[in-house]
Amino acid sequence: MSGPRTFTVRVDVERCIGAGHCVTRAPTIFDQREDGIVILLDAHPPLGELAAAEKAADLCPSQVITIEVAP
């Protein structure tokens, strides 16, 4: 049995306030536009990035990051 090798990240750009925690925590997954709003660089990062992505999602003050790990 082989597990999934990536997971899924979604962001709700409309509700982002540009606090920037995600970029600090997971710079390979997130970036900020010039005006601070989130850019999703990698919607299907390798599982090794899961802990960083989950931390970013937890710290996001407007709670716009969703992490999904396929069963």
């Binding site: 509700r15 606090a19 920037g20 900020q32 010039e34 005006d35 931390k55 003050p61």
Partner: protein, 402 residues
Amino acid sequence: MDALDFATPPRFPFRRSDPREPPGEYAAARATRPILPVTLWNGRRAWLVTRYDDLRSVVTDPRFSGAFAHPDFPSVTKARVVVDKQERAFVGMDNPRHDEYRRMFTREFSTRRMTALRPRIEAIADRLIDGLAAAPQPADLVAHLAVPLPSLVMCDLVGSPYEDHDFIIRCAAGRHGLLQTPAEAEQKARELADYFMRLIRRKEAEPGDDMVTRIIDEHVRPGHLSREDFAEIGAMILRAGHDTTTNMIGLGTLILLQHPEQAAAVRDRPEVVAGAVEELLRYVSPVQFAPRRVALEDVAIGDVVIRKGDGVFALNPAANRDPAAFVDPDRFDVHRDASHHVAFGFGIHQCLGQVLARLELQVVFPMLLRRLPNLRVAARDGEIRFKDDMQIYGVHNLPVTW
């Protein structure tokens, strides 16, 4: 805290029995009545939210409003009601208006732009520590460093002359006190907005490389933002940038000096600094009566129903000591991961300037401890004046020798 039975709603705010610690009522409430009814100065009922998870859910729940002008919005003083009613900056707005205004300013405080300021902040801090080192001992660290560092950085960023910083600080203190009259608070709030309006007009005539000039070009001239709204937002930014970081530097230095081994780690190990700043923010939580909300409908939290029109203080100093979120929460430990603290608030109103605040603190503490390795507090009990008279907590003075 067995003297507290909370049989009748106690009067809020509470007094601190230990000036370095949050009021003992917070821990007692968190353990027994985590959503605690209290009585405010005007006899109104409000609720204290003291647990970490509850704070995060309340401030992200649209059934609670953060509109300062709401007739039932809770406040700690009569004077604060007056300035809340006048607040026109996005700090006191709900969505969708909040995001529309805030997004005009996120660029100015982005991680990238703030990180580029680091050499400038280092130069300012270095020069101020030169001044402190040359002063007769004991010297007041608040006057020499904690006040002027955030002021100089803010003046630089905004484009306001540094000679004006005393005036700006007096306006912030006059509005953020706990003891001033409503008329005094209103006047100080108006004076700062008027000051910022003059600054806008000056930058329209003589543009510079600064925030005011950029916002004029990007948002005022194209008609997205009125001068009047910009003046209110600018006053809010000036107050926030001058007052809060100052208190973190003053009280943060005191706490570090009381934990010499941890101060040595901050001084000698660069990889410890960022985490130490998060722990100091958690431990100090200077914006002590925030975030605030008012219920727009009846909301049940656990076995408590917060009624429509009731005010809520989601207390970040209480949430930041919640053992469910931080192991052994009353222990100061620069080596813990405290990054999920809510000292900057949570939800859409989380501090706009938090990247700047972190950067200033990450620069100043290791530099101060390196430059003055024998730094110590030179005050007997009672000589340090804690800010029991202010809404933003900290120290008025910190006598030090080195």
